[in-house]
């Protein structure tokens, strides 16, 4: 029978099917961090059970680590306690631990691929909804709750009903200034924040085929923001080139065996999806959000829709615009902003900093804007320096911080103050997400850069000199 990419990977990992219930799914690689794992370890302790395969789990601290002065003790006692718990739990159960100060420390969804933990055709989970990032490699990757973290630690399995399948095709040539982030925000704006709930998405079409692995990760990362459990892209030469030779990638004979498996990972020509959507890539503009969920986004040159054209009820829509301090029919262009955040598991990779730098080069940071540039890992941080980007950024009045999740969810000190506006390359613009009372506009690193140098929402295309 014809199968989709998703079917192939899923079916390969089903230990058993339960009549009238979920599948027991084997998990190849498990990532943990300090926030969603402590209670799972407590569960293991109270039941007196061990970690079945400690070599399949990797721990990194990222959610509440500081992004300056990482050599100093963590000041917040609650954060320090969580970081310590991750370390002691990892040590007790024999799990690799990349804590604060470790060379491999960084955002879990950035370091996983960098070190080859992420592999095509693998099942990957983490107690974090943006685990969908790893789907860029043709893996089935999704976020789980803490009860499930405990299941994976103790038995390397979770119990999941098989989701429905959706394919999203985007073809055509992307315009100047249009990045993978814009493609993702565009799709979410079309589907709404719940449009893919219950589905696992495969992204197909030349727009994704032409993307780098960094771009594909940005797209798959945001799958959860339209409600999908995850999203994936069939592995190709770009994928194999990326994973080959990385520290935890298979080597020698194991690599040959893995490669043979990777080559099988594509959707059969006549396979059927429960839902299929197609968009024209050339119609996508640089995007920005105006509301309090990622589905409330639009092309940057558009006006904020009126309630009659918005998804959902008028009361919810009014509450959302009220929180943002925006009105129906307004243009976003020219709105004053206070903060810019570039980073997170969505846009904290080298390509994102290259994009940001391409706009700010030869310009200067706007005086009244605070800008936080936070690389996703030490590898990204080193690349920024090696490629000479840091010199350009410094010249333009910017500073680089140290790796971590930072202002994406504001669990550390990087909080946007109440009432302030931030253009953010992260993934969620929920009320208070970046700090109590913060107002977030999600956008690409190019839009973030345009805002950082002008102090207002600006179409980055007006700052790109060589329009093709």
């Amino acid at each position: 029978m014809s199968k989709t990419l998703f079917d192939k990977v899923w079916d390969t990992h089903v230990v058993r099917k339960i009549e009238g219930g979920p599948d027991v799914l084997f998990i190849d690689r498990h990532l943990i961090h300090e926030v969603t794992s402590p209670v799972a370890f407590l569960g293991l302790k109270s039941r007196g059970i061990k970690v079945l395969y400690p070599e399949r789990t990797f721990a990194t601290a990222d959610h509440n680590t500081p992004t300056i002065n990482q050599h100093l003790p963590v000041a917040d006692p609650l954060s320090a306690n969580q970081l310590k718990a991750l370390e002691s739990n990892s040590n007790e159960y024999g799990i690799s631990h990349w804590g604060l100060g470790h060379q491999k420390n960084g955002i879990v969804h950035v370091v996983g691929p960098e070190y080859g933990i992420t592999q095509p055709g693998a099942t990957i989970v983490c107690g974090d909804s943006h685990t969908s990032t790893h789907g860029a490699f043709g893996a089935i990757a999704f976020g789980i709750g803490t009860s499930e973290v405990e299941m994976v630690l103790s038995t390397q399995c979770i119990m999941q009903p098989k989701p429905k399948k959706m394919r999203i095709n985007v073809n055509g040539k992307l315009g100047v200034g249009v990045t993978p982030k814009d493609v993702a925000l565009f799709i979410i704006s079309q589907l709404t924040t719940s449009g893919a709930t219950g589905y696992f998405v495969e992204y197909a079409g030349d727009v994704f085929e032409n993307m780098t692995m960094e771009g594909r990760m940005t797209v798959c990362n945001l799958s959860i923001e339209m409600g999908a459990r995850g999203g994936m892209i069939a592995p190709d030469e770009t994928t194999i080139e990326y994973v080959k030779g990385r520290e935890f990638s298979p080597k020698g004979e194991a690599w040959d065996k893995a490669l043979a498996y990777y080559k099988t990972l594509k959707t059969d020509a006549d396979a059927v999806f429960d839902k299929e959507l197609t968009f024209d890539g050339s119609s996508i503009e640089p995007m920005i959000t105006y509301g309090t969920n990622p589905g409330m986004g639009m092309g940057i040159s558009h006006d904020i829709p009126d309630a009659a054209h918005a998804e959902g009820g008028a009361a919810t829509y009014a509450k959302s615009l009220g929180y943002m301090g925006f009105a129906e029919g307004e243009s976003m262009i020219g709105k004053k902003i206070d903060f810019v955040f570039v980073g997170s598991c969505t846009n904290g990779r080298i390509e994102d900093f290259r994009a940001f730098t391409s706009i700010v080069k030869g310009r200067h940071k706007a005086d009244d804007v605070t800008v936080w540039l936070v690389p996703g890992s030490h590898i990204v941080e080193a690349q920024i320096k090696e490629e000479g980007l840091l010199d350009i950024l410094t010249e333009a009045g910017f500073e680089l911080r140290q790796p971590g999740c930072s202002a994406c969810l504001a669990m550390n000190d990087d909080k946007i103050p109440a009432g302030k506006y931030a253009v953010s390359t992260s993934n969620r613009n929920f009320e208070g997400r970046q700090g109590p009372g913060s107002r977030t506009m999600l956008a690409s690193p190019l839009v973030a850069a345009a805002a950082a140098v002008t102090g207002v929402v600006t179409d980055p295309r007006t700052l790109i000199e060589e329009l093709v």
Partner: protein
């Protein structure tokens, strides 16, 4: 973690007719720093419930004494966003055993089922009826019958059936969790692992 068995729940309900209630509203990230599962109920809807100076916001439904009960009735797409199980813990620890909505986000629904909160998905029409009934009379009682898979507005007898997989239903009725099951098939898992491609 063990939870109380769920069978038939008869209770008044708290109405929250807002759509897309996300996990950052259910429990803001700054309250996720505990290493034990304690005190999450206090921070349920923290920023909607309290002012920055920690005084209660009078217009938020949890601060309105006329509404109470073990059932929370939310708007469409309830629980979107993060995978934080803390969101479901907050709901449970506050005292809710059941959340009713016309649509649930996937991970939140799963987390609820894993910790003993029953997510009951109803039609948009029935959801409207429930909201109208509670707003008309805050003492309106709902009956959630898990064995029969029905939810009933007791005053009028109007009812709807809801979906739950037989496996999860059995777990909820008995207070079991998946770890008990997975532990019981460990030898099969270990054998399975030997033939994987990666």
């Amino acid at each position: 973690m063990a939870y109380d068995k769920f069978n038939i729940l008869k209770s008044t309900a708290v109405p929250l007719p807002i759509e897309n209630v996300d996990t950052d509203q259910l429990i803001p990230a700054r309250f996720l720093k505990a290493t034990e599962r304690v005190g999450f109920g206090d921070n349920l809807f923290r920023d909607w419930r309290y002012n920055p100076d920690n005084t209660p916001k009078k217009d938020f439904v949890l601060n309105n004494p006329i509404y109470s009960g073990k059932i929370l009735v939310g708007g469409k797409n309830f629980g979107s966003g993060s995978s934080r199980e803390h969101a479901a813990w907050s709901v449970y620890d506050y005292g809710f055993r059941c959340v009713v909505s016309s649509f649930f986000a996937d991970i939140f629904r799963n987390n609820c089922l894993n910790i003993g909160v029953l997510p009951v998905q109803v039609s948009p029409e029935f959801s409207e009826k429930i909201f109208a009934a509670i707003f008309a009379d805050p003492n309106t009682e709902l009956e959630v019958n898990l064995p029969e898979q029905t939810i009933t507005l007791l005053a009028t007898g109007e009812k709807e059936t809801f979906e739950i997989s037989p496996y999860k239903k059995d777990n909820m009725l008995n207070g079991f969790d998946d770890i008990d099951y997975l532990q019981s098939i460990k030898p099969e898992i270990e054998e399975f692992a030997l033939q994987l491609p990666l």
